[in-house]
């Protein structure tokens, strides 16, 4: 496919502080490119170089094979439209007047606005659904409307490339989605190349064909979202952990970042073994890690939410083949982990014939004098799929275990127990 935009070895620095270093990439016709990276990584600088507000120190930018430096200002405006980050319009211009300004580069100094100019303005306002706002002033508009008006102004320039600097920042979710839908429409229907800076990893991965990840002014990765937005790259660049999955409805990449638990493994207070499942233990895992506990878990079926959380938190966990009964082997492994732990926690997961043996393991632990905390926010009757066997287990366990109702209460109970354990 033909290249529309090429950035070759572009570097930029303020005074002696390099902001952008050796950026090289190209954008094909009709492509939607996302630019991402933490604050100060050079995203906006890259965009400002691409519309020649800034002149790169070295390197060239080509539009349709022609060096951007050889464009006049008005020629740049005819090729590149820009939607700046949260633009302000101080003057009481009407929406129509603002969109008409997009034609400035196409109207000669000695000419008046022609029918063609008005057509382009109208077309742009139709595309962005701003026709009805025509006589309003900018400060009367909502955030979403303002963004659409500025996009309409850029569209009236009839650009080949549209640069957007965080087009959805400061917008309500509904407006965010609307604006993104609009940008995607421009990309698909009018074939305008989109280069947009995003902060939101999910919005970007949903809409972009490719993503550039910038870090300290350098391009760390470029490619389709699923190649670029990996937990490893997110950890390296943003310094946070993330779970990357497919969205169940849109099938787009779904990135859920979280701060890594602040572990204090050198000075572990106690080892807590979690018997959990179905997501009932995930919150607790993080809470415990943050309270300097060592955490183990089992038996969990692979693909279970708790299993995935435990894996991504790098815990020792006993896994079982998906949708299978707990085998003798994993039961034994679980018992071994319990043996190495100071405290056992039983969460309120649904119990079926498959994982019933987890309750047996807890009961055995209790019989051996291991302190057990039972979380019961959902009564066992509502999650007993064993015809009453689980309920019987629970009735026996409740007699000698500490019963709490939430993860936070559980943490408190563990803290108390730990004092007792340490006392021994």
């Amino acid at each position: 496919m033909r290249l529309r935009l090429e950035v070759r070895g572009v570097s930029f620095s303020y005074e002696s502080t390099p902001i952008l270093e050796d950026a090289t990439f190209s954008v094909e016709q009709c492509e939607f490119l996302g630019v991402m990276g933490p604050n100060g990584s050079g995203k906006t600088t890259l965009l400002r170089c691409m519309c020649r507000v800034l002149e790169p120190r070295v390197g060239t930018i080509l539009i349709d094979g022609r060096d951007l430096r050889r464009f006049s200002r008005s020629e740049v405006a005819k090729s590149v439209g820009v939607v700046p980050q949260s633009p302000v319009v101080d003057a009481a211009f009407t929406v129509f007047e603002i969109v008409l300004m997009g034609r400035t580069s196409r109207i000669g100094r000695f000419e008046a606005e022609s029918a063609k100019d008005l057509e382009a303005v109208e077309e742009a306002m139709k595309m962005t659904d701003t026709l009805h706002l025509s006589d309003r002033t900018f400060d009367e508009l909502s955030g979403g409307e303002r963004q659409r008006v500025i996009i309409a102004r850029a569209l009236a320039q009839e650009p080949k490339v549209l640069l957007l600097d965080e087009p959805t920042v400061h917008l309500d979710i509904k407006y965010q989605l609307e604006v993104l839908e609009l940008i995607e429409k421009l990309n698909k229907q009018k074939g305008i190349v989109i280069v947009a800076v995003f902060h939101d990893l999910n919005l970007a991965s949903q809409h972009c064909d490719r993503i550039i990840l910038l870090h300290n002014g350098r391009i760390e990765a470029i490619g389709p979202p699923e190649q670029v937005l990996t937990p490893e790259s997110i950890r390296r660049i943003y310094g946070v952990d993330a779970v990357v999955k497919r969205h169940p409805v849109t099938n787009a990449l779904h990135v859920a970042p979280y701060l890594p638990p602040k572990r204090n493994s050198l000075n572990s207070r106690a080892t807590v073994h979690l018997v959990c499942g179905g997501g009932s233990g995930s919150v607790l895992m993080k809470l415990l890690l943050e309270s300097s506990m060592k955490v183990t878990a089992g038996v969990l079926n692979v693909l279970d939410t708790d299993y995935e959380t435990a894996r991504s938190l790098d815990l020792s966990v006993v896994g079982e083949i998906p949708f299978s009964m707990i085998t003798e082997e994993s039961f034994a492994a679980n018992v071994a982990l319990i043996k190495h732990s100071d405290i056992v926690v039983l969460t309120d997961f649904p119990v079926g014939p498959g994982n019933l043996r987890n309750l047996q393991a807890v009961e055995e632990a209790l019989e051996k004098g291991r302190p057990v905390v039972v979380i019961e926010s959902t009564p066992v009757q509502h999650r007993d799929f064993t015809g009453g066997i689980a309920a019987e287990y629970m009735a026996r366990l409740r007699k000698s275990a500490v019963v709490v109702r939430s993860a936070k209460e559980c943490l408190q109970a563990i803290m108390n127990l730990q004092a007792v354990v340490k006392g021994h």
Binding site: C51, R52, V53, S72, R73, S74, E75, V76, A77, K78, G81, V82, P84, P87, V88, V89, D90, A91, A92, F93, T94, F96, E97, L100, M101, G102, T104, S105, I107, R109, F110, E113, A115, L118, E119, V121, E122, M125, K126, L131, S134, D135, R153, A154, Q157
Partner: protein, 357 residues
């Protein structure tokens, strides 16, 4: 189809409105010129103690009907009053159009034609002229010439000081204008102190007035002001874009640095010429664009012509009061514009409406 009609008709309606405003102001200006020729210390309208010029005489003289009127009537109307009225119009037009332009360039409601040292430079030039021995040779034109040179040199200097790496940011320009302006104000004060018997003359020039008016002056000023004003109108769209901020103006295809230089040069030419012959008349360049913006909105396509016409109308009206109210002497018109301009400006601010933008 209906939508298309709305946009086109919306624009046509707007353009029609602009045209009407311009026509109405032109008619008002013409009427003002005519009416003010009737006003003066010798009448027909005015505080005359002796013989008054009859209305018929003015009409006959103005429209070249002849009639058997004394020669001094003709001289008063044609050689004294009319050039003065026309100079008032020209100076008012230049100050207002320059003020509107500067407010656009600087995106600042407090900007006026003098904002980057034009008046301060002109004052130094004018003061220096009174010390030159050749004043008698060049006659009365030494002062305007030196004032003009002082004004344009100062603007150039301010721009050069503010420029770094090929561009002069408006914020820096403003500050550099203040720095140079206060320095030159000190120089002017010192020269005034030394000026001896020329003091009164210089002081009157500094206060601003139109007593230099003559047909010769009108003939010098009018081509410069008309050409400059017309050229400024060609930058209406650029000024609109620049109101969005310099960066957005660049996005819209404006070569901001070049346009800024051209606009600064044109306003120094236009306002510098006006100041050279009329001294430092304040407030016209500040409040006329403000009032017009309230009436016609921020779009320079209409704001510039409207301000131009209103400025001419305003200054020549105020000058008529200045030259008649305490006849046979007169008040410097700059004093009067400040006397009525400043309270009116305060009133606009108090009214709570958005005065600017």
């Amino acid at each position: 189809m209906t939508a298309e009609k709305t946009i086109v008709s919306c624009f046509e309606r707007k353009r029609h409105g602009w045209k009407l405003t311009t026509i109405a102001l032109s008619i008002a200006l013409t009427l003002t010129i005519f009416l003010t020729t009737l006003i003066g210390s010798t009448g027909p309208i005015g505080p005359s103690s002796g013989e008054k010029i009859p209305l018929q005489a003015v009409l006959d003289i103005l429209f070249g009907k002849g009639g058997n009127w004394p020669e001094n009537f003709r001289a008063i109307i044609m050689d004294i009053r009319l050039p003065r009225i026309l100079l008032g119009v020209l100076v008012g037009c230049s100050l207002a159009v320059s003020g509107a332009t500067m407010q656009g360039v600087f995106k600042n409601p407090m900007a006026d034609p003098y904002i980057i040292g034009l008046s301060a430079g002109a004052a130094v030039g004018a003061s220096v002229s009174t010390f030159l021995p050749l004043q008698q040779d060049i006659g009365i034109y030494a002062l305007p010439l030196l004032a003009f040179i002082g004004a344009t040199l100062t603007v150039f200097l301010v721009y050069q000081i503010a420029k770094s790496r090929g561009r002069a940011r408006v914020e820096t320009l403003l500050l550099s204008g203040i720095a140079v302006g206060s320095f030159l104000a000190a120089v002017t004060s010192f020269l005034l102190y030394l000026s001896g018997q020329q003091f009164r003359f210089l002081f009157f020039w500094l206060l601003g007035g139109l007593w230099m008016a003559s047909w010769k002056v009108v003939l010098i000023v009018s081509p410069i002001v008309s050409i400059g004003t017309v050229l400024l109108q060609l930058f209406a769209r650029d000024l609109n874009a620049m109101l969005m901020g310099e960066e957005q103006a660049i996005h819209l295809g404006i070569d901001v640095e070049t346009v800024k230089k051209i606009l600064l040069a044109l306003t120094s030419l236009v306002a510098g010429t006006a100041v050279a012959f009329s001294g430092i008349i304040g407030f016209v360049g500040l409040i006329i664009p403000h009032i017009m913006r309230l009436r016609v909105g921020p779009n320079h396509s209409v704001l510039l012509p409207a301000s131009t016409l209103a400025g001419g109308l305003f200054l020549t009206s105020v000058d008529t009061v200045a030259r008649t109210i305490i006849a046979p002497t007169e008040i410097p018109v700059g004093v009067l514009t400040a006397l009525c301009g400043a309270p009116f400006f305060a009133y606009l601010l108090r009214k709570g409406r958005r005065v600017w933008l």
